[in-house]
Subunit: 204 residues, 2 copies
């Protein structure tokens, strides 16, 4: 694309670095920004700079936080011996939305992905192992994606945590609500039978 | 969505104002920005501010330009009596890419759209009429979208320009390259027959 101005070209290039944004969409964003008044554009660029300058990470769970400890880690109502391992804050938000979880989290900041050059040392794995080693936690729930990378990370963590007195579990894999059995893939369906849930009956 | 931090929430809200970006995509963008180093984030926000502060519009055609007159308007190789009326700079870029046009442009900065509260006075229509009135141009080619709004704008401009000694034309509507006739809509197919192109033969 030949842009009529270098300023436009720079702005398009910056927007095009966002995930899933090509140069056509980036140009659409830039033209939208051009139509805004200067105040609005300043607000936008300030909020970006604040992201890097003012944002803190919880020193316990590496969640994004406005303070030293995040709201979850500083809550006395939470079970601090139960830790859910997730990839990033989107997963924390998703699990929090369910209202079903009362433990704390540990955010890895990504998953092991050799294709993207992300190895175990790039993630917050060491602090998790420290916690397990220091006997601070009873159970670790792995809640990572069911992708190749997620499984690799699961396996790596399991191997590392194996030697410490901590229960390691993983979230249930199975048929989603509303899914039809005939369209489910074999692996999921197979797992859903292997890991079936028992109804509570008098027999038990 | 409940965000763990106000800074994140602000940044997500800013991104979500972009066209076609919802809050989930906005959060994805924000997390991407968080993974960048500070230098990169500064580059991004600076390029946004430059957009508003340093960008000029060509005083002749209202194209985006680094100087008073854009490259096209200041080129002596261009036919300055042939003006192509377009909606925004994306259309200029698209037409320039064809390499088939040698005239200059006139950028309206939008099209008449009562639904979005855009009337004729919000667009660069008056300067176009001035140019026609002052006998500066021979032909005006209308190259607006084939939407309701595009047609309204076409009609409005045609009515305004009607009284001046200038030829008004519109880009050809017809079957696109690679289109199959059976799938073309009736209006397009009808127009492509009415405005058929004659082959040059000896008969002529």
């Amino acid at each position: 694309m030949n842009f009529p101005s270098r300023i436009i070209e720079n702005a398009v290039n910056e927007f095009a670095k966002l995930p899933g944004v090509g140069r056509k969409t980036a140009l659409r964003f830039v033209l939208h920004m051009l139509r805004q008044d200067e105040n609005q554009v300043n607000l936008f660029s300030e909020s970006m700079q604040k992201l890097k300058k003012e944002l803190k990470f919880c020193k316990n769970c590496f969640n994004i936080s406005d303070n030293e400890l995040c709201e979850i880690c500083s809550s006395y109502k939470r079970d601090h011996t139960l830790v859910c391992v997730v990839e990033d804050i989107r997963d924390v938000m998703a699990i929090e939305n369910t209202g079903q979880y009362n433990g704390i989290y540990h955010i890895l900041g990504g998953i092991i992905s050799p294709m993207d050059g992300i190895g175990p040392t790039d993630l917050n794995i060491e602090p998790l192992i420290e916690k397990a080693k220091n006997n601070q936690i009873k159970e670790i729930i792995m809640a990572l994606s069911t992708t190749m990378e997620g499984d690799t990370t699961n396996f790596y963590l399991y191997k590392k945590l194996n030697t410490f007195p901590v229960i390691v579990s993983t979230i249930a894999r199975g048929i989603s609500l509303g899914d039809q059995l005939e369209y489910a893939d074999e692996v999921t369906l197979g797992r859903s039978i292997t890991h079936r849930t028992l109804y509570e009956t008098n027999l038990k």
